[in-house]
């Protein structure tokens, strides 16, 4: 057992947040000119860029599905995104995260509208500080909407964890590395449908319930931010054009 590090002081976390507080989120829609849809998102010190291409012809051909579109999801960390240089390219971890993230979007993307086609989602982490997959899912959700892909809803995602025996929201890297548990979830805020849930570490049944409730509440907050980013993009343009005139 590792020696316990003090992560909570006077009821506050090391970065000054309360137990149920998110890190600041910044969202920008349509940052890439050549992608069909894109999004840049910051979740605290996580910096992620998501790009969506398609629906377009699926390659390789044998992977096509005659009934619906195939979604390809690539989660990738830049070599410079971590403290120690990460060996570039896919590894066990990123392949697994890609699969989990792809499946988080399964209930929302209306794949049956595009038989044989492929929809490609690329999530690139430029800087990481724990909770990268949740940041990636949040960004990918917006990029998919920006690409005009028919979806039932947006997907929002956040992690909860346990540090020094307390259940807290949205762990940062220090907390994640020295905490007892980390549990990322993704969900459809409107219907409270959970589309992805993972857990690393141990939580009691009671802590799990508390954590889930905390995360679901936070997903509603994130959903509002995602929605606002998409909506203001066009309203803002409208305002600035008026001023130009």
């Amino acid at each position: 057992m590792k020696e316990e590090i003090e992560l909570i002081k006077d009821g506050k976390r090391l970065d000054g947040r309360g137990f149920d507080e998110l890190r600041p989120i910044k969202i920008e829609v349509g940052v890439l000119k050549r992608a069909d849809g894109s999004c840049y998102l910051e979740l605290g010190d996580n910096k992620v860029i998501a790009a969506v291409y398609g629906p377009r012809e699926m390659h390789p051909r044998h992977a096509q599905d005659a009934k619906m579109a195939v979604v390809k999801f690539r989660y990738n960390m830049a070599p410079f995104s971590t403290d120690d240089r990460k060996r570039p390219g896919p590894d066990r971890r990123s392949v697994e995260i890609s699969k989990v993230c792809r499946e988080a979007f399964d209930p929302v993307i209306m794949r049956e509208l595009y038989p044989k086609a492929g929809i490609e989602v690329y999530v690139e982490l430029l800087q990481s500080d724990a909770g990268t997959r949740t940041a990636g899912i949040n960004a990918a959700s917006i990029a998919l909407a920006d690409a005009g892909i028919p979806m039932k809803d947006l997907v929002s995602s956040i992690a909860v964890g346990k540090i020094n025996g307390e259940v807290v929201l949205d762990l940062n890297a220090v907390e994640d590395n020295n905490g007892e548990a980390d549990m990322p979830i993704a969900m459809i805020a409107r219907t409270n449908t959970i589309t992805a849930l993972q857990m690393d570490g141990r939580l009691t049944k009671e802590e799990f319930g508390r954590g889930l409730k905390l995360a679901m509440g936070a997903c509603h907050q994130i959903y509002e931010l995602q929605r606002a980013a998409l909506v203001t993009r066009y309203n803002q343009n409208y305002e600035s054009k008026k001023e130009e005139k």
């Binding site: 012809e57 038989p115 909407a145 979806m151 039932k152 947006l154 459809i188």
Partner: protein
């Protein structure tokens, strides 16, 4: 005023009026696309982006992407490739076209105006050639997202009519967002610039008037420039 919606936004409870860009769940209509909600007639979402989906009867500009005897493979700026059979060319018998010489008639990168005759469930697309519009010489192609095409045409064709008059160009707008312009070089420069401007500002109101103003001031400035 227009209302921007995102996937999952609640639109209405009148499921019978649900149109494009929406879906019905538990007796309610929700948006399935990121776009602008419209309640004229049916409840629908006019998307702000997305790929062109071929549908029967559409007239589109295709680009020859490959040759696979006896078909030309045609790119329609959509997720699906279409095939054009050699028999679509008029005035040429099947015997005249052989395995090696299809490129003499239509080569890779040539543009063609085609009509979508049929799209089946597997997205196999049948095309017919429309030979009345010549797309080879003296013009240029402008590509915009297909979602912006209605805006370039304008209500009852008001925008396109004005563009044709003020730019002195022949303009052909295809449903897949490809636009063919033919005219004098500087007229074409102006037309393509304005079309891209319309596509960029397609979601704003009063666009036709603003474009008219822009074209007039551009002309005036140019005349002044020529004199000076």
């Amino acid at each position: 005023m227009y209302q921007v919606v995102v996937p999952g936004d609640f639109l209405s409870e009148e499921t019978k009026r649900a149109g494009e860009g929406t879906y019905v769940e538990e007796g309610k209509v929700y948006a399935s696309q990121y776009g602008i909600a419209s309640e004229r007639g049916e409840i629908k979402v006019v998307p702000l982006s997305g790929k062109y989906m071929p549908s029967k009867g559409d007239v589109v500009i295709g680009r020859i992407a490959g040759i696979s005897f006896p078909f030309w493979i045609v790119d329609l700026a959509s997720p699906y490739e279409a095939r054009l059979h050699v028999s679509a060319l008029s005035g040429i018998t099947r015997e005249q076209i052989e395995f090696g010489n299809m490129s003499e008639y239509l080569d890779v990168d040539d543009l063609v105006v085609v009509k979508v005759m049929d799209v089946n469930a597997l997205m196999k697309i049948e095309l017919a050639l429309q030979e009345d519009i010549e797309l080879r010489r003296g013009g240029r192609l402008v590509e915009i997202p297909h979602t912006k095409v209605p805006r370039v045409i304008g209500r009852n064709g008001s925008m396109i009519k004005m563009l044709k008059e003020k730019c002195n160009c022949f303009i052909f707008i295809a449903k897949n967002g490809r636009i063919w312009i033919r005219g004098k070089e500087d007229d074409m420069d102006l037309a393509s610039m304005v079309i891209l401007k319309i596509a960029r500002e397609s979601h704003t109101s009063g666009l036709t008037d603003r474009v008219a103003e822009f074209l007039d001031s551009f002309r005036k400035e140019k005349e002044r420039g020529l004199r000076g």
